[in-house]
Assembly symmetry: C2
Homo-oligomer: 348 residues x 2
DNA sequence: TTGTAAGCGTTATCAG
DNA sequence: CTGATAACGCTTACAA
C-alpha cells in the first residue's frame, strides 16, 4: 500500500468516478507494476456475484454424446460470448449421477460456487436433478434442450425447418419416394426433425408411408440398419433423409454394399454438418447447424437474464442451412478438397 | 443455527474427529434437511485453496484446433479424474490473445481465481504468456505439449513409437516403398512422428528418401496435396504413413481420383483414430491415441503435484496402438459397421 | 468436546 | 475526494 488507503484502491480498481485523477494514476501504475490482481473469492463473498457461469455437460461413462463433436463447438461459442463480458466458465465435474439431491447435485454445486448462471447441455430434461436446477432462481439456459422455468430458457436449431429443407431439396431433384431415418424421439431435435419431414411431405402433396419411417438413435449402426430395412421393401425409396450425418454415412454404406450408387441410385441428406460430412465419400449433402452460434446464443440469453432479472427467459431458435454436396448431386462439390468452401449453400 | 456453535458445525462438515457423535448426527441431519452448502468463496479465502483446476484451451478465431475432436475427449478424461477428487474445472474464457501481460493474462486469471493448478492444451509452448504461467509456482501440466518448469510437467502420446508401429505394419505387409506425410514440425507430435518414421525405416534396413517425405500440417488439404506430389514421382510409394487421420483421408482421396485402389494399389495408415477413421470408406488403419487417457493422466499429474509439492513434475508418455482396418488390409474389417469393435488391434 | 475470536481480501457505508 | 470500519461466510488457533 503506497500512499493511499485500501478503500481508495478499491474505488480506483472498480472505476468509481469519485477519485482524484492524480490518485487514480498513481494507484493504477502501481497495480500494473506489482501485477496486482484482486482476489475473486473475496470479491464474490461481499458482492454475492462471481462472474462465473456454470456449465453442466453430461459426459458419463458410456454416454454416447461424448462422441458428438457438437458440444465442443457450442462450448467455444459460449466461451467467446461470455468471455467478452468478463465471465469465465466453470465445468461441473464428477457427473457421476448421484442420488440426485446429494451434496453435489447440480444445484448445490451451483450455489457452492456461487455461479451467476448455468448452461445445460447433453443432459436429460427429465432428470430430476436438472429440474431442481431449472426451477431454482438461478438463470439457466438449455442448449438443444427444451427446458423452461421462471428463470430458464433455451436455444435450439430450427430442426423442423431443417427437415423441411432436406425433403424439399430431394423433391426438387425429382424424388417422390423419400424415406426418413429418425433420431431418438425422446429428444426434442429427434421429434422436430420427424415433424418437419412429415409436414413437408404434406406440403408437397406426397404420401406419408409408415414403411418409409425408420426409427434410429443418431448413431451409425441405426443408420446402417435402417437403410437395410428400407431397401428390403417392395418399393424402396430413391431418397433418404437421415436425422444425423453419422446415420447418413451408415445409410450410404448399407446402400453401397448392395451395389447401389450414391447419388445416382439413392440420394441421401444428413443433418448437422460435422467435419465428417465434408470428408466422407461421397461428400454429404446435409443441413448445417450453427454450433458455435448456438453457444453464443446461449451466452447471450444468460447475459440478458443477468442484466434484466425480471424479463422473461428468452427462447431462441437458430436458422439452419442446406449444404449441397455429392450425396444428392453428382459432382456438386468438385474441388472442395482443394478449395474448402466451394459448396453450394442455401439459406433458410 | 440450531443448538451448537458455528465453529462446531465447521468441524462436523470437515470431518474432524473431535466432535461428539451425537452432535455430529444432529448437525449432519440438519445440514441435509436445509440443503446447506458451504460457500466456496469463503472457504477459498481462508484456506487459500479453491479445489478448482484452471484449463487453458486455446480456441481463438480461425484457430484450426477447434475442429480437432481431440480436446473434447481430453477434457472428459481430465474432468472425470479430478472430479473424483472433488475438483472442478474452470475454463478460461476470452482467450483473445491480449498484450500478454495484461490484466487477463493466463497467470493473472489463475491467481485471480486462486486455481490450485492449471492444464494447458492447444496453446503454443513458445507463447510468452504460457511461459509466464509455467514458470510461476502454480502446478501446470501440458497436454500434447512439451512444456516444463519447476512445477510444470506434461503428458503426451508415444508418437515416436506410433510412427514406428505404422511403418512396421506396412513393412510386414510387404511394402518397401513407404512414404510419409508429416504434421507441422513446429509441434512436438509433428516432429516425433517423423523421427519414428525415420528410425523404423533404418531399423528395417529400408532407405530413407527425401522425396518420400512431404510436409503437411495435420489437415485434409495438405494430405491431399502431399499424396499428389508423391504420385507424381518417377517411382511412387506403394504405402503412405500420414501423421493424422484427416490427412490420411486426403491422401486416399487423391489416390482414388487417380484411379488407384486402396489398399490394393496403395496402403495408407493414419494417426489419432478419430471417429472419422472408423466411418471412412475404406475404414482407416491408424495409430490410436488414448485421448481420454491423456486427460486422465494430466489430472493424475496435477493431483500428484498438489499432494507432494516438492516432487519433480511428472512427465508421462502414453502408449498407442495400431488399429488395422481396410486401408491397409482388404476386408480387414468386415462387419464392423454392425458389430463395432471387430477391428484387430495390436498393443504397443 | 465445544465456544470465542481473529482473520482471509474485498466492497460498501459512513463520516470527515 | 478520502479514510475508518463493518460486513461477507468460513476455518482455525486458543480457551474453557
Amino acid at each position: 500500500m503506497s500512499g493511499v488507503s485500501i478503500a481508495t484502491v478499491s474505488r480506483v480498481l472498480n472505476d468509481y468516478d469519485d477519485v482524484a485523477a492524480e490518485t487514480r494514476e498513481r494507484v493504477l501504475k502501481l497495480a500494473r507494476d506489482l501485477e496486482y490482481t484482486p482476489t475473486a473469492a473475496a470479491r464474490t463473498l461481499v458482492t454475492q456475484r462471481s462472474r462465473v457461469i456454470g456449465v453442466v455437460l453430461f459426459t458419463g461413462e458410456g454416454h454416447p454424446d461424448l462422441q458428438h463433436p457438437f458440444f465442443q463447438e457450442v462450448l467455444v461459442g459460449l466461451k467467446h460470448r461470455v468471455g467478452g463480458s468478463g465471465y469465465d466458465l466453470l465445468l461441473f465435474a464428477n457427473d457421476v449421477s448421484e442420488n440426485g439431491t446429494g451434496a453435489n447435485s447440480y444445484l448445490n454445486r451451483s450455489r457452492h460456487h456461487h455461479v451467476d448462471a448455468v448452461a445445460l447441455m447433453g443432459v436429460d430434461a427429465r432428470d430430476p436433478e436438472v429440474q431442481r436446477l431449472t426451477s431454482s432462481n438461478i438463470p439457466c439456459v438449455g442448449v438443444d434442450l427444451d427446458v423452461i422455468g421462471r428463470r430458464t430458457g433455451y436455444v435450439i436449431s430450427d430442426n423442423d425447418e431443417g427437415a423441411r429443407l432436406a425433403v424439399r431439396h430431394l423433391h426438387e431433384l425429382g424424388h417422390t419416394r423419400i424415406a426418413v431415418i429418425t433420431g431418438m424421439t425422446t429428444t426434442r431435435p429427434g421429434v422436430d426433425r420427424l415433424i418437419g419431414y412429415r409436414a413437408e411431405l404434406e406440403a408437397l402433396g406426397l404420401p406419408y408411408l409408415d414403411d418409409y419411417v425408420r426409427e434410429g438413435d443418431f448413431y451409425f449402426p441405426s443408420g446402417y440398419a435402417g437403410m437395410q430395412a428400407l431397401l428390403d421393401l417392395d418399393e424402396p425409396p430413391t431418397a433418404v433423409f437421415a436425422a444425423s450425418d453419422v446415420m447418413a454415412v451408415g445409410a450410404i454404406r448399407a446402400a453401397q454394399e448392395r451395389g447401389l450408387r450414391v447419388p445416382q441410385d439413392l440420394a441421401v441428406v444428413g443433418f448437422d454438418d460435422i467435419q465428417l460430412a465434408q470428408l466422407a465419400h461421397p461428400a454429404l449433402t446435409t443441413i448445417r447447424q450453427d454450433k458455435v452460434g448456438l453457444g453464443a446464443a446461449a451466452g447471450d440469453a444468460l447475459l440478458r437474464m443477468l442484466e434484466r432479472p425480471d424479463a422473461p427467459p428468452p427462447v431462441t431458435t437458430l436458422p439452419v442451412e442446406l449444404v449441397v454436396r455429392e450425396s444428392t448431386v453428382a459432382g456438386a462439390n468438385r474441388g472442395e478438397a482443394r478449395a474448402q468452401g466451394g459448396e453450394s449453400r442455401k439459406r433458410r
